[in-house]
Amino acid sequence: MRILFIEDDAMNRRVVNDMLDVAGATMTGAESAEIGLELINQNDFNIVLLDLRMPGMDGFTALGHIRARGDAKADLPVIVITADTAIDLRERCLAAGADEVLFKPVAMDSLFDAIGRMLAKGAGEGMIG
């Protein structure tokens, strides 16, 4: 299970990294959307976790770039993790192409649950194991 987390704050990256450790998953961190997109180019991830507010390219734009790809990676499951609590934020994220939205502070169980669900549904052929 290879998980990419695009998030500029080092503390948040560390938290998610340690959480995923508990579940035996490896996480690659990207401190900017630009770096994240490049990593997606060069590697095969199963799922992408995405922060919204970042200096430089923000989450929405990055999400757009992913979905606009011409290859299979355009359908990568993307879970948005954000501290924003605007009223219609969830709808906007889903409309922009995210598969799921989690709000900080993130409950570990919710994170695992969301990842598990996304992976199982992945392109209809979610590989278990």
């Binding site: 598990g116 052929e125 278990i128």
Partner: protein, 825 residues
């Protein structure tokens, strides 16, 4: 070398305030001036304030005794004045303990003696100074604002300007220079006829501009201040302003100009009052020497500066002096002294950042509170204006009626016409003016509301991020099985505290949403009795722990109704929490009733307790945001006071309300009243025939979620087990039709074959089928699994759809596939 003065920054602020206050006192009008002994004593006391506050205290105390023999209401005011002077003097002596009761007493007497007077305002300013000295910035700001409004209302423009100046100084101290400048400008706009006040404004504006890097403008301000100082013939002030000019010039890199100014400054050294400023010039000279590259000279000069510091007098700009000293000693190679000053710098910076941070938060909070109050006042004014509007409108109409209906005698008609026209025009103008006012108030209301919401949203957002760190890591730590007893307890406490904080943040956000009308209420069928039972369950343990009795009465409760179950649960949870919190002994009761009222059928949930109760005059107050019955309650029981406000707003949004009845000391009953809308009984969560239950033996939370997603549509209920023992126990408990085992979980235990055997046996004897998910392994394991009696074997990795098919689609076995993607986990 030098002792670091405690709370240096605060003292710094106070010193600046004192200067402005000296301005304040200098022309405080004596009321009813006469040759009374009392007046003379007060005048004496006042005169001593700037130079010798102790003398002020003495004289004011005597004056207070003299006040006892004053006639009528002059007595109360006299005592208040004397107490105020003593309090102010103690503040200047930094003696908060003595100052506080005197100022509080003065305030009480002054407000009791009659309508607001200048004295009351002055006392408020002193109280603000007291709060500043104890770093209670929000309280200080509140006092200054109150004083400002008071002075404005009674037309004391000069004092009003002073209040604005004090507010500006607070912002300056918090590092918010833009706002500080705003307030300086306001102060000047309000009153610019007093040279001393003006001097203070110019001087401080200069400082603010200097901090913003606008050196040219800063110097301009300082020069104006200097001119004023000269007209006031005050060498002390002149010297101080000069030091500011020099400082600004040095910052701007104008070395020669600075040197000239410093030389001018030293010219004041014979003046006794300018002693404090002279110290600054030594430090500035040292700074200049450093800029010229002469570190040795700088070291000598700065030593001189620190040596001549009078510890009793707070020095200004300690930071720059320490910075200069550090640089000088470092370059000269004197490590020891350099380090001392570096440590002093750090200490100061720490203080400043905490003060600035807390000041900023406190100011933001205070601003918000201020806006809140303004909002309420504006709302009331709005209503007032609307009423006036309506009245004027009606009057204008009546005039018109008379105008059109009358007409017996031409002269009378003409006369009536004339007067009517005038009156109508006047009314119309009044209405027009009232409408303008209304529009203005609305805009102000809108702005205040927006600011408040933005503040609330920003705050809660900012808090969520660090909370993510706290709760994230505590969860990770608690998930570690190896975590031992005491450590686990401690981390558990941190985690709970984090959870409480998150609940608070969510509450604040709810309040923000409600106040801007952004709340959405669902309407869906749910089982009321079930929900209430659930919520009560959550509080059972705590109730028992406190020795209370919990009485749940759901006999009359309707089962299925329409509404927002989440929000209703939130209200009930909140009310129960309060009930238990405020009750030490007795009973907590939750009862449901239905009734038919004028607004239709209603369902009522009553939560009663036998706790401390609520006084009748506070019934409405407690539902306001951020309110509790009194400050004492907050101290005893904690909480933000948001809960009830949210409960009521939610209930009202649902078409109902939350009300309270109570007898203080005996208990309270909170009642949620909601419209009763019966729902068609939903298909009770399909109690799938138990034979369909699936047990998944897997420890990994992510794969658990994956497996559940894939298999839940086929199986009925899905349960989990983390070990062989747990699995066997669950199977024996019954209701399991299929068992899915992940080999990773099995492998970490005892011998694989034995483990599999145990589960397989247990499954078979309960009539359940078993499936093993295993990694492409050595053949050995494969056959052992068969021997153990597992029904189906599926090799990992496998597509979810395929697994579902294998388990529920009738296939008996899957061959170990070859050459697939290696395990990902």
């Amino acid at each position: 070398m030098t002792s670091i003065l405690p709370n240096t920054r605060i003292r710094h602020l106070l010193y600046m305030l004192m200067l402005a206050c000296g301005v304040l006192l200098a022309s405080h009008p004596l009321w009813a001036a006469g040759s009374d002994r009392f007046d003379a004593l007060i005048a004496d006391a006042r005169a001593a304030m700037l130079v010798n506050p102790e003398e002020t205290i003495e004289k004011a105390r005597i004056a207070q005794q003299a006040a006892a023999s004053l006639p009528g209401n002059r007595r109360a005011i006299g005592i208040a004045t004397a107490q105020w002077l003593q309090g102010e003097a103690y503040v200047r002596l930094d003696d908060v303990t003595h100052a506080r009761p005197l100022i509080d007493s003065a305030y009480a007497s002054a407000t009791a003696a009659g309508p607001a007077t200048k004295l009351t305002g002055d006392i408020l300013l002193s109280r603000g100074g007291l709060h500043t000295a104890t770093a209670q910035v929000a309280a200080a700001l509140a006092d200054y604002q109150q004083a400002h409004n008071l002075f404005r209302d009674i037309g004391e423009t000069r004092s009003r300007a002073v209040a604005l100046l004090f507010i500006a100084l607070l912002y300056q101290e918090a590092g918010d220079y833009r706002n500080a400048l705003r307030y300086y400008d306001q102060a000047r706009d309000v009153y610019s006829a007093d040279p001393q006040l003006l001097l203070s404004i110019f001087n401080n504006r200069g400082n603010a501009l200097k901090e913003l890097g606008r050196f040219r403008e800063a110097e301009q301000q300082f020069r104006e201040a200097f001119t004023l100082a000269k007209t006031l013939h005050s060498p002390a002030l002149e010297a101080r302003v000069l030091s500011n000019i020099a400082r600004s010039e040095l910052r701007a890199g104008k070395a020669e100009a600075a040197d000239r100014t410093i030389a001018l400054g030293f010219g004041y050294r014979r003046e006794p009052e300018a002693a404090a400023a002279i110290v600054q010039f030594w430090a500035l000279a040292a700074q200049s020497a450093l800029q010229h590259g002469d570190a040795q000279r700088a070291a000598t000069l700065i030593t001189r500066a620190f040596v001549s510091v009078d510890p009793a007098q707070p020095t200004l700009s300690d930071r720059e002096a320490h910075e200069t000293a550090y640089q000088a000693f470092k370059r000269v190679g004197d490590e020891k002294f350099a380090l001392e000053h570096l440590e002093a710098l750090k200490h100061l910076d720490d203080q400043t950042s905490t003060l600035a941070a807390s000041t900023n938060t406190a100011l933001a909070a205070a601003r918000f509170d201020f806006a809140n109050q303004e909002l309420r006042i504006a709302k009331l004014r709005n209503e007032e204006l609307a009423r006036t509007n309506a009245f004027e409108h009606a009057r204008a109409q009546t005039q018109q009626l008379i105008f059109t209906g009358a007409g017996i005698v031409t002269l009378v008609v003409v006369a009536l016409l004339a007067t009517s026209l005038i009156v109508i025009r006047r009314s119309r103008n009044d209405v027009w003016a009232a409408n303008l006012d209304l529009a203005e108030t609305n805009t102000a209301l809108g702005k205040a509301l927006a600011a408040k919401t933005e503040f609330l949203a920003t705050t809660s957002h900012e808090i969520r991020t660090p909370l993510n760190g706290i709760l994230g890591m505590t969860q990770v730590m608690l998930a570690d099985q190896a975590l031992a007893g005491t450590l686990r307890d401690r981390i558990g406490i941190v985690h709970s505290a984090g959870v409480t904080m998150r609940a608070l943040v969510d509450d604040i956000l709810d309040v923000a949403k409600m106040e801007t009308g952004n709340l959405s209420i669902e309407q869906a069928p749910f089982d009321l009795a079930d929900m209430l039972r659930d919520v009560s369950q959550m509080w059972q343990e705590q109730t028992r722990a406190k020795g209370l009795v919990f009485a749940l009465d759901l006999n009359e409760s309707p089962r299925c109704i329409e509404g927002d179950v989440t929000r209703l649960r939130q209200i009930v949870f909140n009310l129960l929490s309060n009930a238990i919190k405020f009750t030490e002994r007795g009973t907590i009761g939750l009862a449901v009733t239905t009734a038919t009222a004028v607004n239709g059928e209603r369902v009522r949930i009553a939560i009663r307790d036998s706790g401390i109760g609520i006084p009748a005059d506070k019934f409405d107050l407690i539902f306001e945001s951020f309110r509790q019955v009194d400050a004492g309650t907050t101290r005893r029981f904690g909480g933000t006071g948001l809960g009830l406000s949210i409960c009521r707003n939610l209930a009202r949004a649902m078409g109902g309300d939350v009300t309270v009845t109570s007898v203080a000391g005996e208990g309270s009953t909170f009642t949620i009243d909601l419209p009763l809308v019966h729902a068609t009984t939903p298909d009770t969560v399909a109690a799938e025939p138990l034979t369909q239950g699936l047990l998944i033996v897997d420890r990994n939370p992510i794969t658990r979620a994956m497996l559940r997603t894939v298999l839940a549509p086929h199986a009925g209920t899905v349960t989990f087990a983390s070990s062989v023992a747990e699995a066997v126990a669950r199977i024996e408990a019954g209701g399991v039709a299929q068992v899915l085992i992940d080999d990773a979980t099995i492998r970490t235990g005892e011998d694989v074959a034995t483990a599999l055997g145990q589960i397989a046996d247990s499954a078979r004897s309960s009539g359940a089928g078993s499936t093993l998910l295993w990694a492409v392994p050595e053949m050995g394991d494969y056959s052992r699994a068969e021997q153990a009696g597992i029904d189906r074997l599926v090799a990992k990795p496998v597509a979810g759809a395929r697994l579902a098919d294998v388990m529920y689609g009738g296939n008996l076995r899957d061959e170990p596939p070859s050459g697939l993607v290696t395990q990902a986990a």
